[in-house]
């Protein structure tokens, strides 16, 4: 591997931007493809598939065997609301390899007794969120049911282009939320990105089942190609 490629790889990873290294294993020839350049790449179909799966693998192109090594950032999950659902959601998400943070300004909710081993930030979203470096590789769920906490958090998630944004509440609650967010400057395209009611419709009742529905929806958003994603929703 050329030193320039290694340096660029390390810089992209430090910035949490996905990269794929393409190696011709017969002669060692190599190139680095940034996620933003995949659409224009001759291997775009193979590259986007491997990146979506977060999996390295081999492809054969014109008789050459190429190894595609995928360097995808660890996905983060930011949970707004240290509520009962979050107590089930946080450990489930961790078992799925997400870096989980729970944010709730209400210290009675955001207590280490209720959330052992989970990073907790007992601050309002305007203070709590900027240091978390919320980015595209972040799933963002707002489950407090309190507009004073959820609304500013959702505006932050729009701004950071999170790959998944979900919010708890019935269709009626969500319609009211949409009105409030619009009044605060959110675009219709932002509001359309919110998954609400949150989670895949699997008839979930208990907090743990709702957590499964949420993680299933986040997984679909992360792994499925765009067309199949529409069908699942």
């Amino acid at each position: 591997m050329k030193l320039e490629i290694l340096k660029e790889l390390n810089a992209e990873r430090a910035a949490r931007r996905p990269v794929i290294i393409v190696t011709d294993t017969a002669n060692g020839e190599q190139r680095l493809v940034k996620a933003k350049d995949i659409a224009a790449d001759p291997l775009r179909a193979e590259l986007s598939k491997q990146l979506r799966m977060g999996k390295s693998g081999n492809v054969e192109v014109a008789g050459n065997k190429l190894f595609l090594n995928v360097y995808a950032p660890t996905a983060k999950l930011v949970i707004i609301g240290a509520v009962h659902i979050s107590q089930a959601l946080a450990p489930l998400a961790r078992s799925l390899d997400y870096d989980v943070t729970v944010v709730d300004p209400r210290t009675a909710f955001a207590s280490p007794e209720r959330f052992p081993d989970v990073p907790l930030v007992a601050e309002w979203p305007d203070v709590a969120l900027p240091p978390l470096n919320v980015d595209h590789y972040t799933a963002f769920v707002a489950v407090t049911h309190d507009p004073k906490i959820d609304d500013p958090a959702l505006l932050h998630a729009f701004d950071r282009d999170c790959f998944y944004i979900g919010a708890l509440g019935s269709r009626k609650t969500h319609a009211k939320r949409a009105e409030r967010l619009r009044a605060q400057g959110a675009k219709d395209s932002d509001i359309a990105r919110i998954h609400a009611p949150i989670g895949l419709d699997i008839g979930a009742v208990s907090p743990s089942e709702i957590a499964v529905a949420i993680m299933a929806e986040i997984t679909a958003q992360l792994r499925l190609p765009p067309k199949e994603k529409e069908e699942a929703a």
């Binding site: 390390n10 060692g28 081999n58």
Partner: protein, 107 residues
Amino acid sequence: MLNRDEDILQAAETWQKQGHGVALATVVETWGSAPRPAGSSLVINDDGTFLGSVSGGCVEGAVVTEALDVIASGQPKMLEFGVADETAWNVGLSCGGTIRVFVEKVG
């Protein structure tokens, strides 16, 4: 995910800057129950110091030896490891899988 390899690729860059010869070994293919998935890597410097893992310990010693050759020659190599053959005293994978490891020089 693969982020756990972050520090070892950073180490490869640092070693190179310090003037070491450095090689990168990467699992490119696995069959059966392989201990580490494709994309797992090991970095080796010319002292024989290594970081990371391609097999969870079964074949690292052999990979390091080959990596020192690669550092000296500059020519990449493809290594293949299968089931450990105890009677022949070969290194191998006791888990029953087979892996192919691509070893290349850095720089």
